[in-house]
Structures are given as C-alpha cells and as structure tokens.
Amino acid sequence: MSAILLLFYAVFLSQIFLISIYFPMKIRSRILYVIKNYPPKEYPKLYPKPYDFYAEKAAKSGLSTYRNINLFIAAIGLGILVWALASGYSPHPLGGDEIFVMLYLLLQVAPILYAEIRTFKLYWGMREANVGGSRKAELNPRNLFDFISPAFVALAVLLYAGFIVFYLYDKGFTAPWEWEVYVTIAGITGMNLLFAGMIAKHLVGKKLNPHQAHKDRLRQIETIVKIGIFASIAASVFLILTSLVDKYELEVFDPVLTSLYFQIITFFGLGLEFRTVKVETVDFSVYKEDKPVIPT
C-alpha cells in the first residue's frame, strides 16, 4: 500500500472518529449531565415547556436515537473504508475524489446541526416564556478586541487579501476570468462576511438565551469570536494550499487536504466551545425561580 493511500485511510478514519463518535458523545454526555444535575423542579427556567415524566422519557429516548444515528453514520464510514480496501481503491491522480469526502462529511454533520437547531429552539422557548419581570444589562461596551488579539484579526484579513492576490496571480490579473474564478472569490468573500455577521450578532445582538449569566455570555462571545476568526484563517490557508496542490499537479492529495481541513475546523470549533464553556462551570442558578420581591 502506498504512503498516499495509507495517509488517506488514516485521515478518513480520524474523520469518522472525530465527527461521528467523539463530539456526538461529548454533546450527549453534556446534555445528560444537565438533565441529571439541574432538574425542572429546582431550575424551572431551564425547561420552558412542561417537563413531566413522559417528556423526560422522550428526551432520553431522543438522546439514545441521537447516539444510534451517529454510530450508524460511523458504521457507514467504516463500511466505505472496508469497501475501498477490498476493491483496491486509490485517490484519483487528477483529483475530484474530495467530493466524496465532503458528501460523507455532510452526512456526519447533519445530527450535530440537528442538535444545534434543538438548542436554538430551546432558547427560543425560553425567550417566549420570559415575559415581564426584570431585565439586566451590563453598562460596559463590548468590542471585538476585548475577546481576541488584533494580531489574529489582522492575520485573517491579510490571509483573505493574500489568497485573492495569489489566486488572481495564478489565473492571470486580466479580466474576464472563467466563471470558476468569480465563484471562488464570491464564495470566500461571502463566507468571511458570514463570519463577520455572526461575530457582530453575538457582540451586540440579542441574547439567544435570555437567562444566561453575564460571565457565561462573555465566555460564549469569546468562543464565537475565536471560532469565526480561526475559521476565516483556516479557509484562506486551505484555499491557498488547494491552489498550490492544483498548480504543482498534486491533486491526489485533495481528499486528504479536504478531510484534514474540516477536521481542524471541527476540532477547533466544537473543541474550543467544549474547552471554554465547560458545563461544570456554567452558572445554572439563573434558571431558578425568581425570588419574590419583598417591599421595604
């Protein structure tokens, strides 16, 4: 077996483990920890909808289904690997096989996205239930550089500009270009604008979770800002590397590069969230019933 093939199998195996086993397991254990340690009786604001015996049973069965779906997707991945080994597959020397890596990745991230949507719906329910009462806010402005070093932001901007210059240098500076050039430039620009919008929304936008403690919100904003800037840097580096790979006719590495790129994004994205916002350190006292105000 060639070194390229061995590398491909190792990277694909790591993708299966990281995205379909490791992170879903962390997400599941996090939710189970919250359900176990913060029951609806003591923390009613955490459960905007009635949480009776049947709701608890449904939640636990949903978590089991979530685990099983991820394991099933991991099994599909392993099946693909076994099939590739048995059929003597090797990445096409002219590239193009990265599309299969991306298609499998889409399948892998679907349950994670579903979990995110459910979390968003939970926050939405909390916001709907949070009518009246008192609202709190800090009188301190939040700026981008309170959460990340300006050097990283500068690096992200420089790499974005660097990629555009490098790409146009490669394709020739004189317009008109092929449609692929416009799509690539529009794609990376749109992606960076999306990251900028996501960061701005978290910095000055409405709180997703209306009860979140101030220190937890700051940690969450820091995580989002770092993920956004890091993802922008990683995207530019990835595109520069794939352009170099194409230029020097090393397209055989495209599937490995694509898989590595998405694994790094997931590791530093979800991984950073798990490291920065540890569930054991989150202030859950905000979900307790409001104490009645005794007039003085």
Binding site: K136, A137, E138, P141
Partner: protein, 129 residues
C-alpha cells in the same frame, strides 16, 4: 456595573434607563470618561426597542450626563456627577408651580391658564415643524 429594568413597572422604560445610569454615576460605579455600551447593544441586552434607549441617551446628553464622541462611542461626561443630581423634572414642576401661583394671584382662571398653555405649546410645536 449592572442595571436592572422592571418591564412591568409603572415608570416608563426610558426613564428607568436614565435613572439607573444616573444612580450608577452617583454611586461612583462609573465615572467621567468611562465608555457606555452602544444604543443597539444596551437595547438588545435589555430586550428593548432601540428607540427607547436612544431616547434615554438623548435626554442624558441634553443634561450633560453623557457625551457622544462620534464613531468612538458614548462616554460619561466630565461633570456627570454634578449634573446627575440635577432633577430637571423637579425644576420644571417648581417653575410651573411658581408661575401658576402668580397667574392665579393675578386673577387668571384655571381654564384660561390651560388654554394659554396649550396655545404656547402648540405654537412652539408648529414653529418646530
């Protein structure tokens, strides 16, 4: 420094924001030159309309409690502590009381005062438009 707004309270929301910021200044929780959050940030944090916070900021700026420095943001005014203790509403009430007492002494009836007040206010509003 945290401010707390009572959504169900009888005091208008913009007045609560003004009161809380003035209170923070008087208690030395924030001082001259300290930056305040943008209107959008504070409105979103409190789950309020931007216009409500903007109204509070405009009135605080009028009273020289805060100052806006263009794109750099909003800051606490150097004379904020002194100006925070001035209650313009109280001053308006005192002035009206004095004037109305003087008018009544001169024999002007309450309805004449109301009509005159309305005319003066309408004239001012027409001129502003």
């Amino acid at each position: 420094m945290e401010i707390i707004i009572d959504i169900d309270g009888e005091v208008p929301l913009f007045a609560q924001v003004i009161e809380q910021i003035k209170k923070a200044i008087l208690c030395d929780k924030i001082g001259p030159g300290d930056a305040l959050p943008s209107i959008r940030q504070l409105a979103n944090d409190l789950g309020m309309n931007n216009k409500t916070v903007a109204k509070a900021y405009i009135l605080l700026e009028r009273d020289s409690v805060i100052q806006t420095k263009g794109y750099r943001g909003t800051f606490i005014h150097p004379e904020a502590k002194v100006n925070s203790s001035v209650d313009l509403n109280e001053w308006v009430l005192t002035k009206f009381n004095e004037t109305i007492t003087a008018l009544r002494k001169a024999g002007v009836t309450d309805s004449e005062i109301r009509i005159a007040f309305g005319n003066v206010m309408n004239y001012r509003t027409d001129k502003e438009e």
